[in-house]
Symmetry: C2
Subunit: 243 residues, 2 copies
Amino acid sequence: MAQISPTFSPLYRQIRGLILQALESGEWRPGQVIPSEQELAARFNVSQGTVRKAIDEMAADNILVRRQGRGTYVASHTDPRQMFRFLRLVPEESELLAHPKSIPIDCWRAKAGSEAARVLRIEPGAAIIILRRVLQFGRKPVVGDEIYLPEELYRGLDMEMLQVWNSSLYSLFETRFGLRMIRAKERIRAVAADRAAAELLQVDEGTPLLSVERVTYTYGDRPVEWRRGVYSTAEHFYLNDLA
Amino acid sequence: MAQISPTFSPLYRQIRGLILQALESGEWRPGQVIPSEQELAARFNVSQGTVRKAIDEMAADNILVRRQGRGTYVASHTDPRQMFRFLRLVPEESELLAHPKSIPIDCWRAKAGSEAARVLRIEPGAAIIILRRVLQFGRKPVVGDEIYLPEELYRGLDMEMLQVWNSSLYSLFETRFGLRMIRAKERIRAVAADRAAAELLQVDEGTPLLSVERVTYTYGDRPVEWRRGVYSTAEHFYLNDLA
DNA sequence: TAGTGGTCTAGACCACCGT
DNA sequence: CGGTGGTCTAGACCACTAA
């Protein structure tokens, strides 16, 4: 079909859009296999190569996972390797492994202030859930987070649910609320520990900490989580690969 | 050609290796066009599609740059869009533009200590160059860096060369020493400004700063630069996209 | 208009996985 | 073994750039 130039989008992108749509609709769930490339090609009336290119892109974006000989899977935060996919903090020694543990502190309902509303793209005053937690590496508290969630998407989230769940928050959000975190954006500054942070992370007041603000997005760049955290970098550091 | 399985590497990766080799040998220089896909296919006796896949990977790695209708170019730090490719610090307002300016402070010869030697993979005691500089956004000093370079690769680098050059360091390193920075790894902590840092960045002693340690690699994951910097995050922040 | 990269197809064969 | 993704090829056509 002819296309006016500014709107031009190659076939494989349109296919990508259709697959994304099927994912959003819940046709295929996280952790499950999606149909084979041949089947998808038949369904969308294109060649296998075109489906392949669409899937290639989505695999590069961590939306799908290819497994040779088995099939293509919907990426899931339930997968141990994906659980702390967005956490860049690693222990000073041994830059690998050492999965942290999330300890909920409290969790309550509130109304969105202007900043939360802007970031989450909801109405000021709309219901939100605020959640505080600590991340421990081994025994030590290293990260303190305050997390803002639009209530509409997390209906039923409470302290008990958090305490029962002994895995990552995103795996909880995915399994209980069907939310898939696709990408995130972090803004990092250095701050001095205030009294609350100092207590939380068991450091002296005034200790330099990383202040990490994160906005997390689902499909279609829709923000579904806002968190503000402080990281203690006495025995850990934030590791970033630049390409 | 048949291959025993653990050593198996697809054709397009071997082509990638050959192109990389040509780049390292200086056959095509940064900013220049490389031969067309058809020509490369003929040269390596493979199909255009195979060359294409090799180039696709290298473009994804920021080693090559495709330009439809014009050709494929060797990525260059001379390109204004690539100059501060590894710098993640952005002004509080307007997350774009605002290129900083690099001001050299001093530059001298020294012998590699054990840490520098380990990081740069050279012999302890080998000659290195140490360089200090400040990055200014507008009039304000925001970043202070101490940069360690193996002398062997940067022979002739001195204060005068730095003062004459009014662009990014990596574009200098590329044009004068033929070095191409491919990727880098940063370790970030929060620290309190010591006296030197406080003077350099015009902040109070004790102000929390980001401590950013970077190792930069060329082809073949060979480290060619080590820098330790402090970033003032009063009016700027470190922006990181997580995918 | 000629030359480049970008898309799309169709088909063959290989590597890997489960049964 | 059959089915999946992974590689490789050959060829047609489209979109963009420069002269």
